[in-house]
């Protein structure tokens, strides 16, 4: 297991380097810069802006300075004043993601620190709801295979996958805010504000999970050991819950990694509709605003999250299926 983890760590370092360098160069090669506005800026002022954020340096030097850990600027990290020349370390490797270009009163660390807990909570609500709904309907579908119930649930799942979440969000807002006023229309703060956005965000994943569970369960139920369990006279409930479910959920578990990534990056639309100050909108808006540092920060954050969540999924896998062992010697 140690070797497995070490190998993963090595790959993680390589992935991070590639992601960082490619997005760093891509960001800066796109037309338009962070200081472009519809009112043009004086050359003398633009010169100072560029200097302040080191955009007057060659790209390789900007990159080295950004990654760190050595501070390349005698004026201090990101040029934040005359007195900071003493600082020897800086950049991402020292945990500093720099100041945001668009939200100039905040550092990227501030912004992520404020928005990530919100996104994480929203994502957790969405994921738990998706798992609860998806697994229960999936099992029901598999046990009543071919029945009207199965057909209805499969249709609902297909609809859940096909309908974009902003359509569902609009429909739910009309129903549960304006017709039957149960929930606030937007905003973030109380449990009540989490229900509609969590539902909308989780729905498409619930639909996928339902289908995966159904398939997994059907396969598991046809296995020899299930027949043996039935033959031993165990109650149908015990057979399903104790024996079939473990194997039947394997496809769902392997889907959790991509699903989490999808919930994180896909929360943009839901965040905008429900006015939730999460990280999802920064993922897209920072690129539109040419907010180089924030775009890099969010990209790095998502890379780390997706990578480590996939690792967690692999660990859970071994818990559920003893046939799978981590490549240990």
């Amino acid at each position: 297991m140690t070797r497995f983890l070490l190998r993963r760590l090595l790959w993680f370092a390589i992935t991070m380097f590639v992601v960082m360098s490619v997005s760093f160069v891509l960001m800066r090669s796109v037309k338009g810069g962070p200081f472009d506005q519809d009112r043009n800026v004086e050359p003398a002022i633009e010169q100072n802006l560029k200097k302040k954020y080191h955009l007057d340096w060659p790209m390789w030097k900007q990159f080295l300075h950004y990654v760190g850990p050595l501070n390349l600027d005698e004026r201090g990290l990101f040029g934040e004043g005359e007195k900071s020349g003493e600082k020897a370390f800086g950049g991402v490797l020292s945990g500093d993601f720099g100041p945001s270009f668009r939200y100039r009163d905040y550092t990227v660390n501030d912004i992520i620190g404020q928005s990530l807990p919100i996104s994480a909570l929203l994502g957790t609500v969405a994921m738990m709801w998706a798992l609860a709904l998806g697994i229960s309907t999936g099992i029901a579908s598999a046990l009543r295979r071919g029945s009207g119930l199965d057909l209805a649930m499969r249709l609902a799942a297909t609809a859940g996958i096909a309908l974009p979440n902003f359509v569902i969000a609009g429909f739910l807002i009309v129903c549960f805010v304006f017709l039957i006023p149960l929930f606030p229309v937007a905003g973030w703060g109380s449990i009540r504000t989490m229900i509609l956005p969590g539902f909308c965000l989780g729905l498409v994943f619930a639909a996928y999970i339902s289908r995966l569970t159904r398939t997994g369960m059907l396969e598991a139920l046809s296995q020899e050991h299930i027949r043996t369990a039935h033959a031993k006279g165990l109650s149908p409930g015990t057979v399903v819950m104790r024996h079939a479910l473990k194997g039947g959920l394997l496809p769902v578990v392997s889907y959790l990694g991509p699903a989490t990534a999808g919930i994180l990056t896909g929360s943009l639309v839901i965040e905008r509709i429900f006015f939730i100050p999460g990280t999802g909108s920064h993922f897209v808006n920072s690129a539109i605003n040419r907010d180089y540092t924030l775009a890099m920060g969010v990209t790095i954050l998502y890379t780390v999250l997706v990578y480590s969540l996939n690792l967690v999924v692999d660990l859970i896998y071994t818990l559920l299926d003893p046939r799978i062992a981590l490549e240990d010697e």
């Binding site: 810069g33 472009d36 043009n40 004086e42 010169q47 007195k83 100039r104 229309v185 539109i288």
Partner: protein, 586 residues
């Protein structure tokens, strides 16, 4: 394969860690503090870029800055005429070149220190210094030596000139003297413009001491920022809200009614309207064109003319658009009335000039109105009879539904009336700006919002090589008129020079005007002290909630046959301490 006892224990341990971690994380995330609802909430349309008055340019920033800072003068909420602010009074010398401002003695920062002329001296120096990177620095270039101070820099970007070359000095803590290059009739109005609000030197310098690495961000933190306006900043969360609370050290705090104000950053049109309709906001700043017809019926939506022009830039460096006959033919066939009434629908006015109506003493010079016959004749004269041989024209705009609709209508009209092929090209905002700046377009959508109530805020854009010209057009006579106007004392002569400049612009047509803006605010009917005005500037200092009696009285005068809506706010109203005393005496 049987699992060993140890392996099972390890597995259970791992599972327990995962579950505990998840639950602990949830608890941690839910623990965020929740704010009590504010007395008043308005939506700002987006997150502000910063609260540093010197470095902002945007309308959303202005809305917050007017609540938390105050300049030498404040504007009347209805007429926008300058009123005493941090300066209790001022004098102008006879030649119109020297302004002497006398500071208000009871003016205080939110940290309790007096606001002095030194604070303004420091703030204006900081504003003009290119190192501060103030986009709006040119707003103070009417001051002697200021332009050179900002523009002339060494290799490091530091100013070459000493600040003593700039015509700003103090005479003791109570007097600020400003000398101008040339008479500037709107100079006092500028002193109420948000980039010229003061900042506290102590605020910045103590942050520099405490956080040498990050003071530029830290001094603006809610817990650090020192302000001198009716409100101060209590709390901020990116893309969520700014919570403002009444600043008790403000000189006129007795006349401030609302104790807390929330500024929301909702960007989606539908979301902000939903939030308004369900009482989560009491004022929103725009309405999607899809719902305008319904909104126009309501008492809380009353658009008024706004100092903005929507127009197309023409690339005059590129044939055939270098030919004025071609440009005029294009202008003569834009269906302006259709765009105003069918697409915008809020009472926008078709534009035939650059300067919007509403500038006192100024009548806009207009281009010819729509005339298809003349347009065809001009195009033929230019060598394209019936549009033959005319290259396909590309209409360039930034991605937006309304811009696309307008471009489609115009493209159709040009194809129909001139027989030329028209294509649409939309680009994402920053790429669009780049395309405009590098003149890689045929015609390109643009808009301009006036910074102050004077034609010059529009006219000086199109001087040869101007930063915001972006058409490649230039004319010595135009430049002469603009320069002459800037040096003219007599207001009537000056406005006539600006009018002649606009006349020339409308003959040459490097831009094709389309419509003039209107305001789009939706305002809770119970809000008092709020007036729609030509600059769409509003002053939270004057806001209060009307009680039922006042609301009924107001509705009797103003509803105009429109349907009544939920007035928001407390039925008993919310008035300033001074007003409460007046009422008690009655």
């Amino acid at each position: 394969m049987p699992t060993t006892h140890g392996a099972r224990q390890r597995r259970q341990g791992l599972a327990a860690v995962l579950v505990v971690g998840l639950l602990g994380g949830m608890l941690y995330l839910m623990s965020g503090a929740r704010l009590e609802p504010a007395d008043f909430t308005f939506n700002n349309g987006t997150e502000v870029s910063t609260l540093d008055p010197a470095t902002v340019t945007g309308v959303p920033e202005g809305r917050v800055l007017r609540a938390i800072f105050e300049g030498l003068v404040v504007k009347d909420p209805l007429t926008l005429a300058p009123q005493p602010g941090m300066a209790a009074s001022w004098e102008v010398s006879e030649d119109g070149l020297t302004y002497t401002f006398h500071m208000r003695e009871d003016a205080r920062w939110s940290d309790g220190h007096p606001v002095t002329s030194e604070d303004f001296f420091y703030s204006f120096e900081r504003f003009l210094n290119p190192g501060t990177a103030a986009y709006y620095a040119y707003q103070l270039w009417y001051v002697r030596g200021a332009r050179a101070y900002t523009k002339e820099v060494d290799e490091d970007g530091a100013p070459i000139n000493d600040f003593s070359t700039v015509g700003i000095h103090t005479e003791g803590p109570g007097t600020l003297v400003i000398e101008l290059e040339a008479p500037t009739p709107f100079f006092v109005d500028l002193m109420g413009f948000y980039p010229l609000f003061p900042v506290s030197r102590r605020n910045i310098e103590s942050a520099q001491e405490l956080w040498p690495d990050s003071w530029e961000i830290r001094w603006l933190r809610a817990e650090n920022i020192v302000t001198n306006g009716p409100y101060r900043v209590l709390h901020r969360r990116v893309n969520d809200r700014i919570r403002l609370v009444k600043n008790e050290t403000y000189w006129d705090a007795d006349n401030v009614a609302l104790n807390t104000i929330d500024v929301l950053a909702i960007e989606q049109d539908a979301t902000m309207l939903n939030v308004y309709l369900t009482g989560g906001a009491d004022l929103i700043d725009r309405v999607n064109t899809n719902v305008v017809r319904e909104m126009m019926e309501r008492e809380d939506f009353t658009p008024v003319p706004y100092l903005g022009t929507y127009f197309y830039r023409v690339n005059t460096t590129k044939p055939p658009y270098d030919d004025v006959r071609v440009r005029e033919a294009l202008s003569l066939t834009i269906p302006r009335a259709q765009i105003a009434t069918d697409i915008m629908k809020m009472g926008q006015v078709p534009a035939y000039g650059l300067v919007p109506p509403g500038m006192p003493g100024y009548t806009s010079a207009e281009c010819r109105k729509e005339d298809t016959e003349r347009a065809r004749a001009l195009l033929e004269e230019a060598g394209f009879p019936g549009g033959e041989g005319f290259p396909a024209i590309e209409i360039h705009y930034n991605t937006s539904e309304a811009h696309a609709q307008i471009a489609q209508v115009i493209a159709l009209a040009w194809q129909r009336d001139l027989g030329i092929r028209a294509k649409l090209r939309n680009e994402e905002w920053k790429v669009y700006l780049d395309t405009q700046n590098t003149l890689r377009f045929d015609v390109s959508r643009a808009a301009w919002i006036g910074d102050y109530v004077d034609p010059n805020t529009f006219s000086d854009m199109f001087v040869t090589g101007g930063e915001n010209n972006k058409t490649g057009w230039g004319h010595p006579e135009y430049d002469r008129l603009i320069t002459a106007a800037a040096a003219t004392v007599d207001p009537a002569i000056r406005l006539e020079q600006l009018r002649q400049a606009e006349e020339l612009l409308m003959k040459e047509l490097p831009i094709l005007p389309i419509y003039f803006y209107v305001t789009q605010n939706v305002v809770a009917p119970r809000l008092g002290g709020y007036y729609e005005n030509i600059q769409d500037e509003h002053f939270p200092k004057h806001w209060y909630w009307m009680d039922d009696d006042e609301l009924v009285a107001k509705r009797a005068i103003y509803t105009d046959g429109k349907s009544l809506v939920d007035p928001h706010g407390p039925a008993e109203g919310m008035y300033s301490p001074a007003e409460m005393r007046r009422r008690a005496q009655k």
